[in-house]
Amino acid sequence: MTLFDTLTKAAFDVAETGFQVAETVLKRAQTTVDTLVGVDRKPFTGAPVSGPPDLDNAVSDLANRAARIAYFTPMNPAAIPGAMQNLAGAAKAAFQNVDWRDPKTLALPLRLPLSVGTLLTDSGFRGLMTMEVIGAPRYLEFLKYSLQIFSEFPVYSTLEYRDLMRAQEKWLEGHPDDAVTRTELGRALVKVGNFREAAAQLERAAEGSAGNTRSTALHEAGLAAYNSGDYAKAVRLGCQALEANPENAPARMWVWLAAQKLGGYPEEVAESFRMEVKPGWDPTALQYEDISVRIGLDKTAGARGIVVIDYNNDGLPDVAIGAAHGGISLYRNNGDGTFADVSIESGLFDCTNVFGMSSGDYNNDGFPDILVCRLGFFGGMVELWRNNGDGTFTDVSNESGISCWGPCFSCSFVDYDNDGKLDIFVCTNLGGLFDRFIQNKLFHNNGDGTFTEVAEKAGIVTRWPSIGHSWGDYNNDGYPDLFLSHAIGPPQLFRNNGNGTFTDVTVEAGLDSPTLAFGSQWCDIDDDGWLDIIQYTWAIHEDVIHSLRHGEAPPEGYPTAVYRNNRNGTFTNINRELGVNQCWGSMSGNVADINNDGYPDIVLGNGGPLMDRIEPLVILENDGTKFHNVTFSAGLPFMGKGHGINCADLFGDGRLSILIATGGAYPGDLMTSSVFCPKERLGNYLAVKLYGTKSNRDAYGARLKLVAGGREQHRVLNGGSNFGCLPLQQHFGLGKLTKAESLEIWWPSGLRQRFENLSANQLVKITEGEELITG
């Protein structure tokens, strides 16, 4: 560590302490004043369709709107009156629910500064943590990116983009030479898929500008050309963007992408504008083909969550995919290599705007139910859909008591108290830039179809925006512990005390390094019987492009973290030494032995919301000592924006297909889901399906130890959540081995069972406490 690094770290620590002190003081003062005035603070549980319900949320709403207005206002003094008018309108809208006749309003002069103060400390704290991760030199760029994303989402998701574009067009009538605004108009047109008009606006913007503005306009024009299928033009415009700014890394990547469509770089592309994509070409025997159209799993656009379940208990894996702009698609496995879309008759079609998904049999009736959270950053209702056992599902969110509102990316089933009934966990992360924090929810299953929220009582309290999570028993005490993956900030590890409460052991576990992340997953990556953690990190675009060009992340980058369990309550991130050394915008991932060699591999779903942020689905193949990126060698395309990733044996033949739910955030960035199936099975396998009796029916939390060829393989069943959950059926690769010596099951109830001499290439079914059934 250099002196500069030490000083920077010290400065961050001082600032962090300052924010913490200020926050504590302000929040205490706020609570005192609220108590004196008689303000009853209740979290809102439904969508705030009639505006912010209280002062704190009104202040947040105004701050979000103000940021949005600032972002969309041209940098010109002439635009100030319009911006002020918009700001006045925003204030009126934000405070529309303040009852000025209420005597409590008299305390507003005292409450308002405190509310603004807590908002500033909250936001400042998050900003500081982000700066620590991104680094001060790149922070401004990241801040601009965040401002763009969080300003635009509400505009595009509500389809208010026409108002925005009308305002831009009107401004340009009076300021036709404003290249920055014209570029923004062009970018807006790209985002809504009007590529031809976008290209015209962007090329015009480029004509009247220079430097970075010109480069941006030309790059975006190239993007429009690419999306119109005019790859030669995309190459030409991308090169012009690089002439205007040779540091425009996304432009370089898009020239490469367009050139691939043309069969390689055209001769006229200067050597200095070319790039080589280094990762993804490691040798592999894996060869995939996209079978989604052939098997009928191609009908979901803008997908997010994905689960593989046997919803009708016919022994065949079915697939449910949530969509950001539509309902859940439920695909029934016909048993002949095809799937039928039964979304409508199942009722799940009515479950719309789904992001996170999980499945679990919460009422132990033998049929998997579905839990969803909706709309990600935008905020939506959490819903529980009960499987009626007749092919249909019913929304039981209200009667079960789990109905709640919040920005939410992930949810899962877990039996945290090992009482045999699945509980529910929901991650409620940060929405807008200045949103107030909403705590995560832990719903305890009461056993009568209802749930009680107990997170705070159980000690699960966080100050970071949780976006992903995973349950796993890291200390082998028989109770699932909770790993929280935060969009911003360090992760958190909550140790399950076994009595319904949890203790935050993040610092003593050595997990207190901040990062930008999405999902996470407990798995035994080194098969030593102690669960490790994979935290799927989301890298900034520059670091991804650096990884593409150089084959590894820059030193300051954050590749997906692989935290090795040191078997003493601590963890060490060993990602780079394992070869997990490239940066991707990983929004999800999963771990499975996709090549049947006995070692768990990692599959990453990558991308980012901006139109120019597409990335491949990445396969990291494990050879027992290191991971190798074999994405392109295995025949996968440079494809898009991956959300849910699932690995499942769809045809019962030991080949694990990769299912990826794909789709972007903007209207012009829709894609359909894909299924990649290995052309052949590379090794022998053993599939195991558990049925809990005393434990929860799905056996979530169960641990499996297989010994084959003298080597141990470990699995844990969990109910998500990386935009979905893996199938209940556990898959072990055996390579050339034709049998496994033994299989041990450690059920959540505490029961341990052992079976010996299991032949390869079969599915074995084990009911808790009973004999093994083969076939």
Partner: protein
Amino acid sequence: MNHSASSTSRQGIGLPIAGFSLPLARNQELAANVTLEEVLAGRKGALVVFWSGICAHCVRYDEYFNSFAATHPDVGFAAIASRLNETQAQMRQAIEERHLGFPVLLDADGAVARQFYAQQTPRCYLISAERTLIYRGAIDNFKMPGDPEYLEYLEPAIRSFLAGEPVARPETASFGCAIANVYYQLPKQL
């Protein structure tokens, strides 16, 4: 506003489709109701498209829809505007600004969209004269014509249908903007 949707059993390819009776938006006024039977009248079938004046995806098919009646004289056409909270004024503005000549029916509360299990715009339903569902899904794979990867979905279905042949791909993904989204109900953002 007077509108209704007649109920039917679960919808699917080859099964009967729901009927409707919806007002037509014509210039500044709403005309008398139009029924599915009227859209089908005298033709071999009809194309019903769930549509919105503010949907970014619908815009790219303006020309296609405008010329549909001329290019497909044997197939009736109706666009149904069902998007939650889309006002008549917004829709009329879109019709005028974009010179839309095709008939747009108002499904203000989304009842007909629900009856058709439509959640996104544009979503197409090709219906036979006997009111059987022949095809449902997208117009194409959302690539641009001229793109080497561009794939038409609807036109091959119409050609097969008119030729009396089975439709090779009777159901495709639905690309588009959501008809109902809780965010549409939130206060305007700007």
